[in-house]
């Protein structure tokens, strides 16, 4: 059995606003083996985004334990967390979050600003990454000249450039038409199957979630179900051999 890349135990999260405590996650326990394609589902307000943010080192938990590659994340300081965000995880957001009026190349290279990778290596990594999402003909276009689907593929290339083991995708198809959405899901499946990235997908659509191997369902901050996907949707025939 593959080693767990993520393990949480008794994970609780509350927000405090002017002394009022609002609990969001009520104690979650689960593990994600390396190389798994996991979907986290739930209605809005279920805490699925908060969970993803905690797993992606963007937010901190209130109680419980979170181990990433057997490292206790709660012992890390802000600088170490920044390093983890840079090296260990890549994010894909619903709203793409590209820098405006900036070329595809510069957008994809952005994470390298915060790495030790220098000069000529950067360009090669960026071009490889852009190629892997099929946008090599758009390298020098500005981000605002692209379609929604193309923008999300740029965001995927950006998430890949540091070869992070885990990719988080927060409603990646939420702003896309179904054709572009399918294309994005195809790329995610390919990354998972061919390059072994662990992928954690947050979505509220069952159809999208069924691209994953396993679905965790949350409701009101509690884990409702944790099941393997019986009839997994594959993006297209050529993808699976």
């Amino acid at each position: 059995m593959a080693q767990d890349v993520i393990r949480v135990a008794g994970l609780k999260k509350s927000y405090f606003n002017e002394g009022v405590e609002t609990p969001v996650l009520h104690g979650l326990d689960f593990a994600v083996p390396a190389g798994q394609f996991l979907a986290i589902m739930g209605p809005s307000g279920s805490g699925k985004s908060t969970l993803m943010h905690i797993l992606g080192f963007l937010d901190t938990l209130t109680e419980g334990k979170y181990f990433f590659e057997d490292q206790d994340v709660s012992t890390l300081n802000e600088d170490q967390l920044a390093k983890m965000r840079g090296e260990k995880v890549g994010f894909i957001f619903q709203a793409f979050n590209l820098l405006p009026k900036t070329t595809v190349l510069d957008n994809v290279m952005l994470p390298l600003l915060y790495s030790d990778i220098t000069g000529s290596q950067r360009m090669q990594l960026a071009l490889d990454s852009i190629k892997s999402v099929g946008l090599e003909h758009r390298v020098h276009n500005l981000s605002n000249q692209l379609s929604g689907g193309e923008r999300q593929r740029v965001a995927i290339a950006r998430a890949l450039i540091r070869k992070a083991p885990v990719i988080f995708a927060d409603e990646p198809t939420g702003n896309l038409d179904s054709k572009s959405g399918a294309q994005v899901m195809q790329i995610l499946q390919k990354l998972n199957m061919e390059q072994g990235h662990t992928i954690i997908l947050v979505t509220h659509e069952t159809y999208t979630a069924e691209h994953a191997e396993r679905i965790i369902k949350l409701k009101d901050g509690l884990l409702m179900s944790d099941e393997r996907v019986a009839n997994r949707t594959l993006s297209n025939g050529e993808l699976i051999k």
Binding site: H53, K83, G86, F91, K101, D106, L110, P111, L113
Partner: protein, 410 residues
């Protein structure tokens, strides 16, 4: 994050909001341009004044009527005493260490010669003036001691004035009227340019005694003495001679008892420097205020920029940017704006100063444009500091944002 990355990344950010970046810079541009303009013209003015004083020569002493100012900044008494007489002149001229001496008295009057009818400066001087001021004749002769003694109505003209009155090379032997009296031209000086703020070519020179008579005056404005002695020794000897001549009992050398005072070129330069340093302080104070305003403008815009870019900051943090990375990015954006503004301000200020010097030169020859390198250095340091100081608070606010709150902000 390496410096090169930082600069490039900041540059790209500034370009994305080009219009606003330029407007923000404007405050610094104007501030620095004002500083450079003031300093550059100030340096030109100092240079001009010093060159005028230097043209006087370092081996000369000037004796003024009145009581010596005790400090550099105290002016001599408001009422200039009339104390320097023809008798004093003759007395000093007999002193063995006096190589040359002239007495000067200035008057303005209407000159009439042919079609020329205008107000000019008339100077009463002595024959030694030729050596003291380093003048030479273009035509004819300078007037003699006999002319001084006899108070004859003769005149030597500056070359521009001579040409204007009588046409080129025609002046010697001709007569002209000053006020109601007429004078005969005995000589014309070679071009002498501006010395001590006067255009020497536009003046009519009379024997000093003749001028005193013609205008009912008894006293000279100054004596100028050329000596081969060291100046401090000559000064004390002249003081003794003058006190004897004026019957002043002053064995202790108390200047407040004297009715004359002696200055050298070095004294004049000292006075000028003390005035210009006050001017520099004044200008710097004004410049500091305008730069402060510019700096607050930068801070204001950087705060707006941070607020507008909260989600970008969140994105950068999600991609691995640390507190330091974000802080440096915003600091370097602010600093690049101010340094850019400083460079443009330096160029604009220097250009305006150059233009101003061209215009001044239309009215007074001898001004030279100087680039104020002190000002350039000062401007560079100040604009960098403004960027860092006024950019710091907004940058810190950006860097402190929690990644998730920043990302959620839309």
């Amino acid at each position: 994050m390496e410096l090169h990355d930082l600069v490039q990344s900041s540059w790209q950010s500034l370009l994305r909001t080009r219009g606003r970046s330029i407007l923000t810079m404007l405050g610094i541009v104007i501030g620095i341009a004002a500083v450079i303009l003031a300093l550059s013209i100030g340096e030109s003015a100092t240079l001009f004044i010093l060159s005028q004083i230097s043209s006087f020569g370092s081996d000369k002493l000037i004796i003024h009527p009145g009581t010596k100012a005790l400090t550099q900044l105290q002016s001599s008494s408001a009422f200039v005493d009339d104390t320097l007489t023809y008798t004093d002149y003759k007395r000093l001229r007999r002193e063995p260490y006096v190589d040359a001496i002239t007495a000067e008295v200035v008057q303005s009057d209407m000159v009439k010669a042919g079609s020329v009818n205008k107000s000019i400066s008339v100077m009463g001087i002595m024959p030694d003036d030729l050596t003291i001021m380093g003048l030479s004749m273009s035509d004819g002769q300078f007037f003699s001691d006999a002319d001084v003694e006899g108070r004859t109505r003769v005149a030597v003209l500056g070359i521009s004035l001579a040409d204007e009155m009588f046409g080129q090379g025609n002046a010697v032997g001709r007569s002209f009227k000053l006020g109601t009296l007429s004078y005969k031209v005995v000589g014309v000086l070679k071009q002498a340019g501006t010395q001590f703020f006067q255009n020497l070519d536009d003046i009519a020179y009379l024997p000093a005694t003749t001028l005193l008579d013609a205008y009912n005056k008894k006293f000279f404005n100054a004596f100028i003495v050329k000596t081969r002695l060291p100046l401090d020794e000559a000064t004390s000897r002249l003081e003794i001679a003058m006190r004897e001549a004026h019957n002043i009992d002053n064995p202790t050398g108390d200047y407040s008892k004297d009715d004359f005072f002696i200055m050298t070129q070095a004294d004049a330069i000292k006075t000028v420097s003390s005035i210009t340093s006050i001017l520099q302080i004044l200008l710097s104070a004004i410049a500091a205020i305008s730069l402060l305003v510019g700096g607050i403008g930068i801070m204001n815009i950087m705060f707006v920029s941070v607020t507008e870019r909260i989600s970008e900051i969140g994105l950068r943090k999600s991609l691995g940017a640390s507190y330091q990375d974000i802080l440096r990015q915003f600091l370097s954006e602010a600093t690049m704006l101010t340094i850019g503004g400083g460079i443009i301000g330096f160029l604009a200020g220097s250009f305006l100063a150059w233009l101003a010097i061209q215009i001044i030169n239309q009215y007074q020859r001898g001004w030279v444009f100087v680039i104020s390198w002190n000002g350039a250095l000062l401007g560079f340091v100040v604009s960098t500091l403004i960027g860092i100081i006024f950019g710091y608070l907004p940058a810190r606010r950006a860097a402190r944002l929690s990644p998730i709150e920043a990302l959620r902000h839309e």
